[in-house]
């Protein structure tokens, strides 16, 4: 239900960064969404498309990398991807494993057109 708000925040972050690069045009946003982030990727994409259209930022692509939950076993030091909510270590069978990742909600990178890193005009705002 809050994906539209998340989409707004994504666009805001991306736009802020894009403004720091004079003459560049934002073409793609790469996002990381963890399975425990509480965000539905499809609803987020829908909200994003509506906002991008209304703000005349199209064509602007949203690439979502879905991140599974990962756990670490302190006993055998194995880090593994969780399937079927089973947190048991597949290496040694220990049930005491620790949360590593899976709640990501991050803008990983942006793709811009007509932008050369380090070029004049690409200074901070």
């Amino acid at each position: 239900m809050h994906e539209l708000g998340i989409a707004t925040a994504v666009l805001q972050e991306a736009r802020q960064e894009a403004q720091r690069h004079a003459g560049a045009r934002l073409r793609k946003i790469r996002l990381r969404v963890g399975e425990l982030s509480g965000v539905n990727a499809e609803a987020l994409r829908f909200g994003f498309e509506v906002l991008a259209r209304e703000s005349e930022m199209e064509p602007l692509e949203l690439e979502i990398e879905n991140c599974p939950r990962r756990q670490r076993c302190p006993a055998c030091e194995l880090t593994f991807t969780v399937a079927n909510y089973d947190l048991t270590c597949p290496g040694c069978g220990s049930a005491q494993t620790e949360f590593v990742s899976g709640d990501e909600l991050e803008v990983a990178s942006l793709e811009m057109e007509d932008y050369e890193p380090g070029a004049a005009g690409a200074q901070g705002s």
Binding site: M1, G5, A9, V10, G38, L87, E106, S109
Partner: protein
């Protein structure tokens, strides 16, 4: 086409405000608990019983969030402690800015225990850090025991699971051990309190948990300072 790495959290602005609230609470020795559940699990009733049970002169305050109405605040004000309603006007969760604003516009007597009753919703509140010391998730026995599996984020991020309305257990097909097992599949070692606001069963365990968290505050503060 050039790629610009950003590596920034989407909710970084919310997280920034939440971090400010958290250090403020820590510096003032405030225990802040963020209560989250589905609508109708009994958050407000749990707060009523809690306020009722606190010793006279307790320094406690409540922020309660709802989409509309002042109903919850009216219920909670009867106990004489400062209570403020945050009506979100449609938003399905509270965010850190709402908390910051509510606290700024509001000068209750100094408090060292702050309850935040979130909007009834198991999904969105999980994404928004409010600067709380701990999240508490409430699940009533009239819901499904598989809710921790269906809404894992909030069970992972909460330090305590309150299983409410246990007086109804004889009348509903709710397997309370399965509910606890499911919660611990998502969050190993998660604390659980079973209680009934109607009979009072388990309320002392809940109050003791709060007390324990208050005693642990200096350690939390030290951790934030270093």
């Amino acid at each position: 086409m050039s790629q610009v790495p950003l590596e920034r959290k989407v909710l970084s602005e919310n997280d920034r405000i939440a971090a400010g609230l958290r250090s403020r609470f820590a510096a003032q020795g405030v225990l802040c608990l963020n209560l989250i559940s589905s609508p109708g699990s009994g958050k407000t009733t749990l707060l009523e019983r809690t306020l009722e049970a606190l010793p006279a002169g307790a320094r406690v305050a409540v922020l309660t969030g709802d989409i509309q109405t002042e109903n919850d605040a009216d219920r909670l004000r009867r106990f004489g402690y400062p209570v403020r309603q945050i009506t979100t006007g449609g938003t399905c969760h509270l965010d850190a800015r709402m908390i910051e604003r509510a606290l700024a516009e509001w000068r209750p007597e100094p408090f060292d225990l702050l309850f935040i009753e979130n909007v009834g919703n198991l999904v969105c509140p999980a994404s928004y850090d409010l600067g709380e010391t701990a999240k508490v998730v409430v699940l009533s026995v009239t819901e499904g025991e598989d809710k921790p599996l269906k809404y894992p984020a909030i069970f992972l991020k909460s330090q305590l699971l309150v299983l409410s309305k246990i007086d109804l257990l004889p009348y509903v097909p709710f397997d309370i051990s399965a509910a606890e097992d499911n919660a611990r599949r998502i969050h190993p070692g998660m604390g659980v309190v079973r209680l009934s606001c109607l009979t009072g069963a388990g309320l002392n365990t809940w109050l003791e948990w709060i007390e324990e968290r208050r005693r642990a505050l200096p350690a939390v503060r030290a951790e934030l300072v270093t």
